[in-house]
């Protein structure tokens, strides 16, 4: 069974919110996961791993001005949001980390590439992604654990021209990963009570007429 990208975006957003992120950050999670899934990359698994890790206390994974955190590891959602907000300050290379599930930073690096109109590269452990305006090349498996990250301008030129990514319209996220996200998403739903059923949705009059 495949999921529509609308479902993926909504699930990622709700899951992040359920894990305690502010709504504006949860929106970043939804957007990043959708971007990755549209390119055949496993954004859902990356977010699920992130949420399991930060479940111990979100604040400890928040980046400070020097791209470090209290716990030692950085949350990719908060780090990605901060990077996205500060792309004007990026010069040619930035190393930081470790970052949990660093593939979640790739959409932000793609945005940097588009703004700067040049290739950009993200390296994290065995994973590497080169991006430009529409093109993308990934190499090696990206860890869903935490690893050091380097973002640099340029495409490290040896892999040939970038293919313009063919966008997918569906995600074939594994049921197990979907359930992990749903576990967090469920925390955003208010338990139903008879009062809310009657009052909250506004029934009262008969509708069988």
């Amino acid at each position: 069974m495949t999921r529509s990208l609308g479902e993926v975006d909504a699930m990622a957003r709700k899951a992040a919110r359920g894990a305690g992120y502010a709504w504006g950050l949860a929106e970043e999670a939804g957007s990043a996961v959708r971007w990755l899934e549209a390119r055949g990359l496993d954004g859902c698994a990356a977010l699920a791993a992130t949420l399991q890790t930060v479940d111990q206390g979100l604040d400890g994974f928040s980046p400070d001005a020097d791209w470090t955190s209290a716990s030692g590891a950085l949350c990719p959602v908060m780090t990605g949001a901060a990077l996205s907000d500060q792309i004007a300050d990026f010069e040619t290379e930035l190393s930081f980390g470790p970052v949990i599930a660093p593939i979640l930073l790739v959409p932000v690096v793609a945005y940097m590439a588009m703004q700067r109109q040049q290739d950009m590269t993200l390296e994290a452990g065995s994973g590497r992604a080169v991006v430009n305006g529409g093109g993308l090349r990934t190499e090696g498996p990206f860890s869903t654990g935490a690893c050091a990250v380097t973002i640099r301008a340029g495409g490290a030129g040896d892999g040939g021209a970038l293919q313009v990514a063919e966008l997918r319209t569906r995600s074939d996220v594994l049921p197990d990963i979907w359930d992990q996200l749903d576990h967090f998403a469920t925390k955003t739903y208010a338990p139903a009570t008879e009062a809310s059923r009657l009052k909250g949705a506004g029934a009262g009059l008969t509708d069988n007429d």
Binding site: A22, Q86, A88, Y111, G202, G204, N208
Partner: protein, 559 residues
């Protein structure tokens, strides 16, 4: 074209809930855009499958052929006991269920759909399906019509007018829902560029199916005695719709789209107000639709006290406008601007918005192109511009929310409500913050309150600080800061009222949205859900023509 002489109405004036809750359909409404296109492009309609038994149970397929593609409604009819019939989203069974299939389904496709579509939210559809819907009979009218036709009689038209439809849909799910194709995957097809054309297409076919089904059931019951429903009577039957709270969050969650809808209609109004001289034909067309609108007004009833008061005002307005039109010189300079200016002080919001919609009617050539501007194809609105300073963001905040900064947000009445999603059916609900355990589950659907909270923290920051720095310290304001930047380019994107106030009426938001669909006969069943009619007066597929495809909203009043 040259710059309009008449500026667009001010968002501070237009975007109040009281006014949005008084909107009426217009030439730009999505149903009318669709019926115009169907006639213009000479779409063909077929019914390759109609396999319904004597109990009314079975399947049917209706196929539309456009010049480029085909689309099929796959319908499943059920034999639902009365006790299970509910319009509420918590229902689990319906009289009929539907999906819109992209192309022409094979027998295997239909089998797959039969295992899923009748379950609605509990089933799964796929990328081949564009929308999902279900409908319930109007129990009293259905029986009355079947019995009359079976006995060889036409049903009493007065009874039909009271209800206005044989079935009402209780949800129409589109884009990506329950596995359906995302809207973006079909957005490049010209027939879907205008919003909600997928859903409007499905509802149009549902209405046709319902007429065919009632004829079929009458034939089963009456045999050779039965007669088919008279065409003129059938045309006055629309499809009902029960709409709950889900539509209200949609408007708040899609500020650019909502802005584009409002901007299109406001631009149309402004263009017509800028017409220096109206021709005789234009004046005659306006007078004619105004006269014919009376039959909509005459059949519009509601048991909701608030709507009753609004209807009384609208009926008084109608009389006032009639009297004014006897005296008014529409042949003079800028007649429509004069009419709008007069309406502003002479009649209620309901009447003012009716006039605004009706004066577009003679001017299809001048305004119909605006329908194409109602979509949201901007994909560059998500990223926050972190270089913007705190001071600049404060400026944006005052642009949209100056009115909210003066409210007392410590007053419980100001924050009495909270929007949340229920675990039961994952549907949006509105609760009482201080009476129910819902605050922890609150959805971000109170932009004014969020703006006021952000204003306090922004005020404590240096105005030159980049907003990127502010957001690292205040991730809780990220949502509203993004919204402020988005709405900087979308002046009609924000509702200028408090969406969690104790006196707020969600039906005002539902009405605004449904008016853009082209709905009529708004009948709130509480403050939180509303029944409407869709396609009342519209031609059926075999009746579609350039002459019938557009002004069907205004039937000729019965003598």
């Amino acid at each position: 074209m040259s710059a309009p002489r008449v500026p667009l109405r001010n968002p501070k004036h237009v975007m109040r809930l009281k006014r949005l809750g008084s909107f009426h359909q217009s030439r730009l409404s999505f149903m009318r855009v669709l019926t115009r296109r169907m006639a213009r492009e000479n779409w063909h309609f077929q019914r390759p499958v109609f396999d319904i038994d004597a109990k009314g149970v079975g399947r049917a397929v209706y196929t539309i052929k456009t010049p480029e593609r085909s689309y099929s409604m796959v319908a499943f009819a059920h034999d639902l006991p009365d006790a299970l019939r509910s319009d509420r989203v918590i229902a689990e069974a319906w009289d009929a269920t539907f999906t819109l299939f992209d192309g022409e389904p094979t027998a295997d496709d239909i089998d797959r759909l039969e295992a899923n579509v009748p379950k609605q939210e509990a089933g799964r559809i796929t990328e081949r399906e564009l929308a999902l819907s279900r409908a319930n009979r109007s129990a009293r009218l259905w029986k009355l019509v079947v019995d009359a036709l079976a006995a060889g009689q036409q049903p009493d038209a007065d009874h039909l007018g009271d209800v206005g439809y044989l079935m009402r849909t209780t949800a129409v799910y589109g884009s990506g829902k329950f596995g359906a194709a995302d809207y973006v995957t079909v957005a490049d097809r010209p027939e879907f560029k205008v919003p909600f054309q997928v859903e409007m297409m499905l509802v149009y076919l549902i209405r046709t199916f319902v007429r065919d089904l009632v004829n079929h059931m009458a034939k089963v019951k009456g045999g050779d005695t039965a007669v088919p429903l008279d065409g003129a009577i059938a045309r006055q039957l629309g499809i009902g719709n029960s709409t709950g709270l889900g539509m209200a969050p949609f408007l708040i969650n899609h500020p650019v789209l909502f802005n584009n809808w409002i901007t299109a209609r406001e631009t149309a109004i402004s263009r017509v107000r800028a017409v220096a001289r109206a021709t005789k034909n234009e004046i005659a067309t306006f007078r004619d639709v105004f006269r014919r609108y009376k039959s909509v007004l005459d059949t519009w009833t509601s048991d909701h006290a608030g709507q009753q008061a609004k209807l009384a005002a609208l009926r008084a307005d109608y009389a006032t406008i009639s009297a004014h039109l006897v005296r008014a010189n529409l042949s003079g300079a800028f007649p429509w601007d004069g009419l709008m200016t007069w309406a502003k002080t002479a009649i209620s919001d309901e009447g003012q918005e009716l006039v605004a919609s009706l004066l577009l009617e003679p001017y299809g050539d001048l305004v119909d192109d605006l329908a194409e501007t109602m979509c949201d194809d901007a994909d560059d609105t998500f990223r926050i511009d972190g270089r913007m300073s705190v001071g600049e963001v404060q400026g944006l905040l005052e642009q949209s929310f100056d009115w909210a900064l003066g409210l007392d947000w410590d007053d419980p009445k100001c924050i009495a409500r909270a929007w949340y999603v229920s675990a039961e059916k994952l549907e949006p609900r509105l609760g009482e913050r201080f009476e129910e355990p819902i605050e922890d589950f609150e959805q971000p659907l109170a932009p004014a309150r969020d703006a006021a909270l952000a204003a306090a923290d922004l005020g404590n920051s240096n105005a030159d600080t980049p907003i990127a720095t502010f957001l690292m310290q205040h991730p809780e304001h990220r949502h509203i800061v993004r919204r402020l930047q988005v709405c900087a380019k979308a002046p009609y994107g924000e509702i200028r009222d408090n969406t969690i106030a104790t006196e707020m009426l969600p039906i005002d938001m539902l009405r605004a949205k449904l008016s853009y669909f082209g709905a009529t006969h708004f009948d709130p069943r509480s403050d939180r859900w509303v029944r409407i009619r869709m396609y009342t007066g519209a031609p059926y597929p075999e009746e579609l023509s350039p002459e019938t495809c557009d002004d069907w909203v205004y039937p000729d009043p019965r003598p």
